[in-house]
């Protein structure tokens, strides 16, 4: 039975919110009702009623959308799928199925415990599968196994035809293959409501992973030294990191304000066979940073490390503790790492941006980042620039034509994040983060027609699962998110075919 929560319901104020506390932007911007559905049948009935009444439906799985696409829906209806969260398999040897309301942590646990499998998805336990998978979600195993959407072989999806009829579609390579491709990376909020993801096969769950941290002291970090650290990091992914034997290596460089004392790199590694017996690839990566004398983690602890050697596991130490330059690698059960520290915290206000990089950092980029994080700007103190390794199995060129993820040449993916507690910070943080981002992509390293955006020889645009409505100011914003090889026109064609009345729309949905 669909649960209807309207404005008079005491649950409304809690349930109207997304994880980004900026949305709904105001009480008036919130949907007037929330429909909590527990089955595909309930979703279909709810969608039918919403469309028949002329209301705009927005769809929520986990509620982690960075922009206002879901929570801002004035006078509309928010269809919440979080109660529809099954994970299983069709029969004993049929495809695996994940319902959109399942959160990633539960997906990992169920796939591991039932089938000894995994999904190369993200690290936040509470992110919903619906938006994550359909938008091309990725995570620590993606260099080894590709994107979540790369593994999708079918979806069950509800679309609305030209006569307002809700159509239940089971989409695969033989049925509506164009819609399947669109849902493999651009399926969130564009064409219909996905009620099930289908996977003919999934990668085996790794047994163990090795973890390490590299911590750099801002106190000794001149601009030249900072540039060298970034370049060393980027050079690895542009060069050695493309070799297949490194695909099990995933790193995350988190750059934060100088006022926080340090910044660092989190490293995770497992071999293609799912073990962490031979750590030579990891050691090689760590050695690269020896000239910069990374600090002992325990001296600074929890700020940088989201996962790390301070917890139990098989430890391998190297270096001289007395010099505070000890390096520690911890090998742990992969499941512990996958679900151990993946919470995404309480809702807070945030702004996000993204960039795909095909090349290492330029001195100009490094300089912009250095100046920002060594400045007194309040936004610098409230933000983090995450530089994720990318590529590997993601960059199989043929996938660009089979999925709706165009970026298949990038070696790093950047995520700008800024967090603040209340609405008084909205304007300054949004403006300063935007300026920081724009400055990073302004200069001779970006071609004249794309100044201010990560596009061109060195870049591959932005990631739609880290949506940034600031990009709408560029007329070519679809190119940033969907490339220039014809994917966006393809998506427009699919949109016109399966959602001719644009029932599913947001400020950044596929447009005519």
């Amino acid at each position: 039975m669909t649960v209807v929560v309207n404005r008079k319901d005491p649950r409304f104020d809690t349930l109207k919110r997304g994880h980004n506390a900026r949305f709904p932007s105001s009480d008036a911007e919130a949907a007037d009702r929330i429909l909590l559905c527990s089955s595909p049948e309930e979703v279909a009935q709810a969608l039918h009623k919403v469309v028949a009444a002329g209301l705009r439906p927005t769809v929520r799985s986990g509620g982690h959308c960075y922009e206002d696409f879901v929570s801002n829906n004035p006078h509309g209806a928010l269809i919440d799928l979080s109660l529809y969260n099954t994970i299983g398999r069709d029969g004993e040897d049929g495809p695996y199925r994940v319902a959109p309301g399942a959160v990633l942590g539960d997906v990992y646990l169920a796939l591991y415990k039932r089938y000894d499998l995994t999904l190369p998805a993200g690290s936040c336990f509470m992110v919903g599968a619906g938006g994550h998978i359909s938008g091309g979600g990725y995570g620590f195993l993606s260099r080894l196994h590709g994107l979540t959407s790369d593994w999708v072989t079918g979806v069950d999806i509800l679309t609305v035809d030209g006569k307002a009829k809700v159509i239940e579609r089971r989409v695969d390579k033989d049925h509506d293959p164009d819609l399947l491709r669109a849902c493999r990376g651009a399926g969130n909020g564009n064409f219909g409501i996905i009620t099930s993801f289908c996977f003919d096969k999934l990668p085996p769950a790794p047994r163990e992973v090795a973890q390490a941290n590299l911590i750099f002291d801002w106190a000794t970090m001149t601009e030249d030294r900072f540039t060298k650290v970034l370049t060393a990091y980027g050079d690895y992914w542009e060069g050695r990191g493309k070799d297949r034997d490194t695909w099990g290596l995933f790193t995350l460089m988190d750059i934060t304000s100088k006022k926080r004392g340090h910044f660092g790199i989190y490293i995770q590694y497992c071999q293609p066979d799912g073990t962490a017996k031979d750590l030579s690839v990891l050691e090689e990566f760590l050695n690269r940073f020896d000239p910069f004398q990374p600090m002992l983690l325990q001296a600074h602890g929890s700020l940088i490390s989201r996962r790390g050697p301070s917890i139990a596991g098989r430890k391998i130490q190297k270096g001289e503790q007395s010099l505070n330059h000890v390096r520690e690698i911890t090998v742990r059960p992969a499941l512990d790492v996958t679900i151990g520290e993946g919470g995404s915290g309480s809702p807070t206000r945030g702004k996000y941006k993204s960039a795909y990089m095909k090349r290492t950092f330029t001195p100009a980029e490094a300089s912009t980042i250095y100046r920002f994080y060594t400045s007194d700007q309040i936004t610098a103190q409230n933000s983090v620039l995450s530089v994720d390794s990318y590529g590997g199995a993601i960059n199989r060129p043929e996938l660009a034509n089979e999925t709706a993820i165009a970026q298949r040449s990038s070696i790093m993916k950047l995520q700008w994040q800024c967090y603040w507690p209340d609405a008084s910070g909205d304007q300054i943080h949004i403006e300063q983060l935007d300026k920081f981002f724009t400055d990073a992509y302004t200069g001779s390293h970006v071609d004249a027609h794309h100044q201010g955006t990560p596009w061109g020889e060195r870049y591959e645009g932005c990631y739609m699962n880290y949506p940034d409505s600031d990009m709408l100011r560029y007329a070519y914003w679809p190119e940033l998110y969907y490339g220039h090889e014809g994917l966006y026109p393809f998506l427009q064609h699919v949109k016109k075919k399966y959602d001719p009345n644009n029932v599913f729309h947001s400020s950044m949905s596929v447009q005519e």
Partner: protein, 403 residues
């Protein structure tokens, strides 16, 4: 100063007095209830309506909107005096596709036929103050429509001046904007996403509300959906709609693939005519006592109508037709207000290619065209066109309203 200006000033004063006209101090339903009328299909006083729409046929103001390849959008305030037009002022306005005036305030609302506003996919409505003393328009506000309510093409203001209805052609949506006491429309208070399609594979792949107007004697609005081949009857006074309660009180299917695009209401409010652009035709509808439109007349046409309008003699309706590269055609039709039959009575070539809007004032039909303003003198006895001439060369006119 024209008689009309005096009228309007009087109306403005009345609006502030204790015996204010409709809607200025009470809500629409309360007002109508106070008149002993109730429900959605209640009759308004013709006397009241007359006071709003009276004009001096010899001298009046008219506003036209233009946009085209060389013009991003302009409003032109014209003074019409004894059959001649004089431009009093111009004002920038982005793609003004529809104009409507407030019933008793000197305010003009403009639909901006845009797909993006501040980088978001939505249209907008501008509000202009009509400064009659100086003959100028002053922009006082621009209100975005709901997300995906793009390319608005038609506006209608409720009789009490408290609601502005917008038909968003591009995004397939209706928006209801509440008008505050100062006359400014607020953010949409009701958003109605339309879903539908028609028989034409490309023109009618989705819903395209193209024209909307209020019934002169009730609080209901009638809209034509070009893309979905239907008429929608709306009750904007409906409480905020939900899945069980929508402001759409009825949907009337039209002939498949016909593309209903324009509506003209007979001043008595008992009959209206719909122009069909894709399968060129005129359809006459009568309203049943339950306010359900029933088609009573039909006339097929050779060329697609681009604008229609009743004559001031009420029982004539004019249709303007686009004829490729040739001169546009004006056809006159005799309407039987009881039976709804349509009988063609005349055809007149016009000095333009495409007609966007027309209004009859006394014995003259004022026409906004791609080649300027055209006046068509009507025969005082037969009501048929007698002669036409261009009164202003302003090109690319897309909208018009009498002030």
């Amino acid at each position: 100063m024209s008689d009309f200006t005096d009228n309007n000033a009087a109306l403005s004063r009345n609006a502030e007095s204790s015996d204010a006209p409709i809607g200025s101090r009470v809500n629409r339903r309360a007002f109508l209830a106070g008149m002993g009328l109730g429900g959605a299909a209640i009759a308004l006083s013709p006397l009241h309506l007359g006071s709003v729409f009276e004009r001096n046929a010899e001298e009046f103001l008219l506003c036209v909107g233009s946009f085209g390849a060389a013009d991003a959008g302009t409003l032109h305030l014209l003074q019409i005096r004894r059959g001649k037009a004089r431009v009093l002022s111009t004002q920038l306005s982005e793609r003004p596709s529809a104009l409507v005036r407030h019933p008793f305030q000197s305010l003009l609302y403009v639909a901006n036929d845009v797909s993006l506003y501040r980088h978001l996919p939505r249209g907008t409505v501008e509000t202009f103050a009509v400064e009659r003393a100086t003959g100028t328009l002053e922009l006082v506000g621009r209100q975005p429509l709901s997300l995906s309510a793009t390319r608005p093409r038609s506006l209608a203001v409720s009789h009490d001046g408290r609601s502005l209805l917008v038909a968003a052609f591009g995004g397939g949506a209706y928006n209801v904007l509440t008008i505050d006491e100062s006359g400014l429309p607020s953010a949409p208070s009701t958003i109605l996403k339309q879903v539908g399609r028609g028989g034409h594979p490309t023109e009618q792949a989705s819903a395209h509300p193209s024209d909307i107007l209020f019934h002169p004697r009730t609080a209901l609005a009638i809209a034509a959906d070009y893309g979905a081949d239907r008429l929608d009857i709306l009750d904007p006074d409906c409480e905020q709609p939900d899945p069980d309660n929508t402001i759409v009180t009825d949907r009337i299917p039209c002939i498949g693939g016909s593309g209903p695009s324009k509506i003209a209401m007979h001043p008595d409010g008992e009959l209206f005519v719909v122009a069909h652009a894709l399968r060129p035709a005129l359809s006459a509808f009568r309203l049943s006592p339950e306010m359900k439109p029933v088609r009573v007349g039909y006339a097929s046409l050779n060329e697609a109508p681009t604008a229609i309008g009743f004559s001031s003699q009420k029982d004539f309706i004019f249709a303007a037709h686009k004829r490729g590269g040739r001169q546009a055609l004006l056809t006159a039709w005799k309407v039987d207000p009881q039976k709804g039959t349509l009988q063609g009575v005349s055809e007149t070539a016009l000095p333009a290619s495409e007609i966007a809007a027309m209004h009859a004032v006394d014995s003259t039909l004022w026409i906004a065209s791609d080649r300027g303003m055209i006046a068509v003198e009507l025969h005082p006895e037969t009501g048929t066109p007698r002669r036409s001439y261009r009164v202003s060369p302003i090109p690319d006119l897309r909208s018009m309203v009498l002030l």
